[in-house]
Symmetry: C3
Subunit: 161 residues, 3 copies
């Protein structure tokens, strides 16, 4: 009868966490984004090409929550123009429980953006490599490595992915 | 251990409802689409630009089920050519229970269409703002507000989103 | 209170199976792909146009697991260039239990590919028509019919969909 009940329960928890992550970004509540990470966290964005070669030179690298908050402040100050709209879509979750309160997971993402002219295009695809931990009854990201396929990105890597 | 069991259960019910909604549209069973709404319902399509300014002048506005049925009849009569194929994708569900039988929910959607030449393109993205209610053991839409990002729509807003 | 608990449980099992299927493909673990099918299986890829006309002349047709394995071997030998990256996204699941251990299901898929220049584009959409069976505590595909919308495919139908 399929995977054990506990795995399906964990799967549901992880999918809910993913949906919370992308809906936080897509509804422009960026200030809540760093709060989805633990204090001592890692967030990086790496081209797939480099990652596959074992040369993970990240284009974005943040190794604590304060750096994530700084990024949001910068974004808020920089965004003086009508912002581009981003929509994230996630599929293909796989995961492995490492510990009662530690899970490694991966999922594919797609971001579509809509520019000031109202045109929507594929912006980026890639795969999230996450470690999530449970503390105080809530799951948060210990690390999120964004491995992106799309090296021809139309605009600067501005918003969090 | 993540959200309470009851919330994960409700989440499952809502995701199933969303999947039923989009698969009804994408398999061209349009006559079943109005039946997913309560009689006294609201369905509207609003540009995000207007919505954000608090000026929700909808491009489509239906405030009861009979109007939804009329739309389907019009579509069936109008579609004399080989129809365009639409595929909906949904992600980023968030929701809040307002009452035992009333839930507010949002989710991002992506529609890809394929034209008569067999070319598939991003047609539209946006976010659903829904109110769903439970009656007689079934959840239905009390209101569905389709807030779309893509103001440069290639073709007329023909089919339901 | 929505669909019965058992249906929601089955729904979870099927969604997990779908995610396993697409993450196997998207992480380039092609050798595991045939193992998701039973020995006496059917895998075919059919243009929607033909399928709708009741003339399902498949462009790909495999009626046992050995043929699927052969396809993977061919792909491994042919792929001497930097491979294109594919990402699958699934939505709109519908299903019907035919038997305790047999389920028919459908879902819409979207594949985005990224070429050697790092450009990501909509590659293909369509709908899976699957029959899955449970044996030895695991669900596998008895048949997978890939009904694709996108007849203008940019490159050869190389990888499994």
């Amino acid at each position: 009868m399929g995977p054990p009940m506990t795995d399906l329960h964990l799967r549901q928890v992880l999918l809910a966490l993913q949906d919370e992550y992308i809906s936080t970004l897509d509804t422009d509540r960026l200030e809540l984004w760093p709060e989805m990470f633990v204090d001592d966290c890692l967030y990086e964005i790496i081209p797939k090409e480099n990652f596959d070669l074992g040369l993970p030179a990240p284009v974005i690298y943040c190794d604590n929550k304060a750096m994530l908050r700084d990024r949001v402040v910068s974004l808020r100050n920089a965004n003086i123009f009508q912002p581009v709209v981003y929509r994230h879509f996630i599929s293909g979750l796989s995961f492995q429980r490492m510990d009662a309160a530690v899970v490694e997971m991966q999922s594919s993402y797609l971001v579509i953006n809509t520019n000031q002219l109202g045109q929507s295009m594929v912006y980026q695809t890639g795969r999230y490599h996450d470690v999530v931990v449970e503390a105080d009854g809530r799951w948060r990201f210990k690390s999120k490595r964004v491995i992106y396929d799309t090296s021809r990105i139309q605009t600067a890597l501005a918003i969090p992915i």
